[in-house]
Symmetry: C2
Subunit: 402 residues, 2 copies
Amino acid sequence: MTTWVEGARDSGYDVTHLPYGVFSHNGDEPRVGARIGDFVVDLAPIAAAEMRREGHVLESATLNAFMALGRPAWRTVRSWLVATLTDEAAKPDLEPFLFPLADVRMHMPFEVADYVDFYCSLDHASNVGKMFRPDAEPLLPNWRHLPVGYHGRAGTVVPTGTDVRRPCGQRKAPQDAAPTFGPSQRLDIEAELGFVVGTPSRMGTPVSIDDFAEHVFGVVLLNDWSARDIQAWEYVPLGPFLGKSFATSISAWVTPLDALEAARVPLPRQDPTPLDYLRGTDDAGLDIDYEVQWNGTVVARPPYRSMYWSPAQMLAHMTVNGASLRTGDLFGSGTISGPEKEQRGSFLELSWSGQEPITLADGSRRTFLEDGDEIVLTATAPGTSGAPITLGEVAGRILPAG
Amino acid sequence: MTTWVEGARDSGYDVTHLPYGVFSHNGDEPRVGARIGDFVVDLAPIAAAEMRREGHVLESATLNAFMALGRPAWRTVRSWLVATLTDEAAKPDLEPFLFPLADVRMHMPFEVADYVDFYCSLDHASNVGKMFRPDAEPLLPNWRHLPVGYHGRAGTVVPTGTDVRRPCGQRKAPQDAAPTFGPSQRLDIEAELGFVVGTPSRMGTPVSIDDFAEHVFGVVLLNDWSARDIQAWEYVPLGPFLGKSFATSISAWVTPLDALEAARVPLPRQDPTPLDYLRGTDDAGLDIDYEVQWNGTVVARPPYRSMYWSPAQMLAHMTVNGASLRTGDLFGSGTISGPEKEQRGSFLELSWSGQEPITLADGSRRTFLEDGDEIVLTATAPGTSGAPITLGEVAGRILPAG
């Protein structure tokens, strides 16, 4: 299965990947495209001609209408796209609809309905527990029984490349008599994987763990920016709020679930055995390797395969109370941290709460983010052709507090 | 200022109130209406003729487009509506557009963007603290410094009259060795007031406490259904999730902020003095009296005027980190509980964690909700004419677990 698109092979964006995004060209209306190599395929005009049902939803400024059609339609479009991009005879017709990435502007790929963030890494939860509760068991009693999660702010999820202004808020260190107000001094990242819901569900009806692939359209890289000082003061008893809600960044490209078939790996052993609704045949982890770049220096390599709770377990848990899904729902895995120090997906852990600075390539030292710093998360996974696929990166730069 | 609409005076829905909602008649498309007495005024056709700019947004199936126009437009429509409904000469033109409430179906009044729930009642927070942490200070250290809040699930906010299915989930009592799965045995309500955002704000720019009325369109009654057993097991360290996300009910009628001018009252004294961003000239409490009906028996009368944190303080806090507002954002006050036992707005408090059953008019006793139970929240506030206004009620019935 070889594509005629020049440079696509071994680019991470071969015909086995084909992530979707929303782009505009020369100030045109934003519309749906797929990435192949360093090109965007403008899907709207060609799909409209080929596929009446699926085609019109690709003329939209978001992926939502396409995602709402459900898995059979996702597969129809993907199969057609693969067939067309590997058929030399289709090249003359399609070539006018290929735009070099350098000539397009990428937009937010979908409209976020509800945003939920989980806490699925055993190593991350243990590290945080050790730092915040040094005299107690690092893991809280519920952690091994359910994927702990909470709702975040959907309205401040932004696409890669969006600058992030340093948030202000209340902070109070244990030794302070009263809280003070000002810019966060402990601004952090969380390297995560985000799952995007396509097919909605009915209120009152849980989604079975085995129906994961019927509902989830694909994945994005996600950076859950976190102001640790604001979070530490506000979070009891109702959880994180302003320490997180100022911004969450996602990649511009949504990798379809089908492109991750070769990345499926068994979960780490779960002990105790989870309750029935969290056990299924469709359950699996994902073998995705992350890199965290801080002003160009790779400071961590978190491995997604080390995550304790699976994506399907998160989905089953999130809906077991009858909460409905909507097209555009986004749920994040929580910080990806592996067992080794260099596998930690947050600066809170990498700097051990600021006690162990990190040295960047230019010799500068960091604990938390400084104004002007740029963070880029990248990730690769095994592709179905044997060559790895490259997930869409997520980048963001810190602006000074306003 | 007297309206020509029969029965409107002293109905709680006089011309000084005029809440907005979305209705349909005879299976027509849902559209925006205003309530006067026991009638709905179909605003779309008449406003389209009178007000070109504001009129077309009233043909919509949600209030969002109208709310997005901002306060000057809200005032234009309201002034025109008051003038028309008090002008005998307008009666023949308008009468064909008045529908008896009994002949229309009410819908969800607006599309919820983000939903945030606060925890603003000192008495509620103290009661919960006493029950859950009997050996410690009832209030956590941050409570008097900031309005504690968290994000809830926007996709499961439903209008009054929607049945609520009893949620299933994990529960673990302290004496249990491991969690079990099943229907919630401690299903509860929270009587709240909800604030609906009209005018959006820019990401990175906090909303000043004095700009509350520029951004908030109006209020709804809100019932934050809560499964206490699910919540108690899941909520550390990231806050409530499935214990709340199965359903949140709101009234069909949105009372404009201008209709609550006579209900503004000073806040209870705040000690310590809040930080600067939480202090403003536009700050005030609201004098709203609630009734909680359990299968027709009034079991509580929570007073909104006892709330510690003001609506404007909630808004200023929610955005102080630069989080943006969107049209349709909804934020709830948290349970409204006064200092007296019969003023408590949750059954957790009324039954003191199930230890003190409540007797209903039919002689039956309750601690938490049973299948088939119906809860109705109603509320009244001083109106600008001297007569009280009646806020739109929120009702819901419990269906057995699926």
